[in-house]
Symmetry: C2
Subunit: 365 residues, 2 copies
């Protein structure tokens, strides 16, 4: 029973404006090309169960698909390969609901059953996990601490001439700065100073706290000044996101030109670029950016899959996968989504609980 032409009704909602057969042809080309990296010919496509026509008909459709920009031939008399537009149509309309294989699913489960320890550690290891789930490079960007408030400010003497400023934020992040002393300070002086700072600063927002400091009560304006400076610096640093990279070596599997590998790797080393790119894609509401869609020239031969990690409040992190445009999108999407949602969950019940269901005591908003 052939799933005939358009007259037969919308046999797939996914066909949009290509017609069901051309969509099926495109799908076949994409999946095959992703698997083999070899241009796909009409004969192979005709053999596919979903396409029940002869190779000649497939050829006719292929010229149409090529005319419309979904496919290209590397050269006359080779098979077709998808264009960026072709991949785009595939992910938008054809990609099967991504399901991870069961072994991989188990791996994820095992991983998240066993995670323990601090968030940084979890993110770091999650990036490795993600790279193992797919043959692509994985990136995990931690949520920024935008709305965090100060939970503790402490001065610890290190040497007679150095003290360490240790700051704890409400989301569990800890920052430190070494401060140099001009004059010696006794332990008790330090302790009272520490306590004073704590009392004054705890609970306030990191970003505007520093302004309050300079009006010092006690004895050591120089130290107060450097604490203030350090706090400002920390506030700035905490804006910046931490980046964890997993399995960049996987990229060497995807590209065969060593020059491409090198250039992509060197881009990955510039963390700022990567973060900006991922955030940008996410902000545009996409979960996939293919080829030039992300607008970053040097990565035109790459595709990016992203998924948000939401940590209770509205500041979100990102998990991303970077591979060639010839990427297994269903697999990548599935992996990214599983990891991102698991991460979100862990992060929420690690410390976000107060904002959510529980709402114990503190009303606020």
């Amino acid at each position: 029973m052939p799933a005939k032409t358009r007259t037969n009704g919308p046999s797939r909602a996914s066909t949009d404006d290509l017609g069901p057969r051309r969509a099926a042809i495109l799908e076949t080309v994409v999946t095959e090309y992703v698997g083999t990296a070899t241009p796909v010919g009409s004969a192979y496509v005709a053999r596919a169960p979903r396409v029940n026509v002869s190779s000649a008909t497939v050829r006719a459709d292929m010229v149409a698909l090529e005319r419309d920009g979904y496919l290209v031939q590397p050269h006359t008399s080779a098979g077709r390969i998808p264009t960026d537009k072709g991949y785009r149509f595939f992910v938008d309309h054809l990609a099967p609901a991504g399901t991870l294989g069961t072994p991989q699913r188990q791996r994820v489960k095992k991983f998240f059953d066993r995670v323990h320890g601090e968030m940084e550690d979890m993110l770091e290891r999650a990036s490795t996990l993600l790279a193992q789930l797919t043959p692509y490079a994985a990136v995990v960007v931690s949520p920024s601490h935008g709305l965090a408030t100060l939970r503790s400010v402490q001065l610890v003497s290190l040497t007679p001439r150095h003290v360490l400023l240790v700051v704890v934020l409400s989301d569990g992040a800890v920052e430190k700065r070494t401060l140099e002393l001009t004059a010696q300070l006794s332990e008790s002086e330090l302790a009272s100073l520490s306590a004073g700072l704590c009392q004054r600063l705890v609970g306030s927002d990191l970003s505007n706290a520093p302004d309050l400091v300079p009006l010092a009560a006690a004895d050591n304006p120089a130290l107060i000044e450097s604490v203030s400076r350090a706090l400002r610096e920390i506030a700035r640093a905490e804006q910046g996101d931490e980046v964890y990279m997993g399995g960049p070596s996987r990229l060497a599997e995807s590209f065969d030109a060593v020059e491409t590998v090198r250039s992509v790797l060197s881009i990955l080393e510039q963390q700022l670029v990567v973060v900006t790119l991922l955030r940008d894609v996410l902000d545009r509401g996409l979960s996939v950016a293919i080829g030039t869609e992300h607008g970053y020239e040097p990565l035109a031969s790459c595709a990016v899959v992203v998924a948000p990690v939401s940590a209770g409040d509205n500041e979100t992190g990102v998990v991303g996968l970077l591979g060639p445009t010839r990427m297994n999108y269903p697999q990548a999407l599935a992996a990214a989504h599983v990891v991102s949602s698991e991460l979100s969950e862990r992060m929420n019940d690690a410390l976000g609980r107060r904002n959510e269901k529980q709402g114990s005591g503190h009303g606020g908003h």
Copy 2:
């Protein structure tokens, strides 16, 4: 009947037992091959100023050098390339005192003039610097905190059900663990507990401190127990070295087989392996390990250059460079040494001062 041509006088102390001319030939072959990656022929060597003989004579010496294992021919009628043994002789006896080019020298100076902030940050950025000074991948391993004592132990409330344990070590390192509470705890209870822990633990060695804890004075044995467990965990974690990697993409320049690139990169991702390797090389008193010398099969086509970073006490860190055996050893050695000694210096006067010259006030130790 080997031709002991030493009659010519010991024109170079560096010739050891090869004779001055053969040494010069080997040197020429190494430097040329490192630069061009192309087998070096007798004609080229004969043209070198240090070798004042005809190409025929060079050829004769080359057969000897090949017989003794310093050179090989990729195939008959190609030029020669050095063996690992050849490189070894080169670095042991022939390598010119490594001098960085002045632009690079300035870069180092600028870098270390401007460093600020915490040690982790400095090491991280130093690894990038090192990778920029050479075309090889750089690795920086931080000194382990073996002898550090506790300087501060603090509990900070995070949510009604979570507290954060923050530990400061005498070398400025800060560690944290999130602890889950079974029963709620007031701020003041926390504060007194915190103070109690501090008083009991500060000054003691991290590694044997945990045993002391369980005998709790106050009210919350469960919490005390989890603090104790966390401290043990931290003690374990602090043994492990942190690794910073710079410019792994540089490796893609060195090897032309993409498969080699991939395998080397994937090894670099296993930080433990890398650290072990570097530490091992350093422990054997070497500063260079070529090819199979380091005994790690998968990196047989690579060479490693290491230099110690000594941080006051006897626990040392490592800086290392990883490249192909066809490596510019003088350059790599110079770069590694400059960076390692600069790092040592910074780390010493950042906090090691008390052990060294100054010894201010506090006698004892």
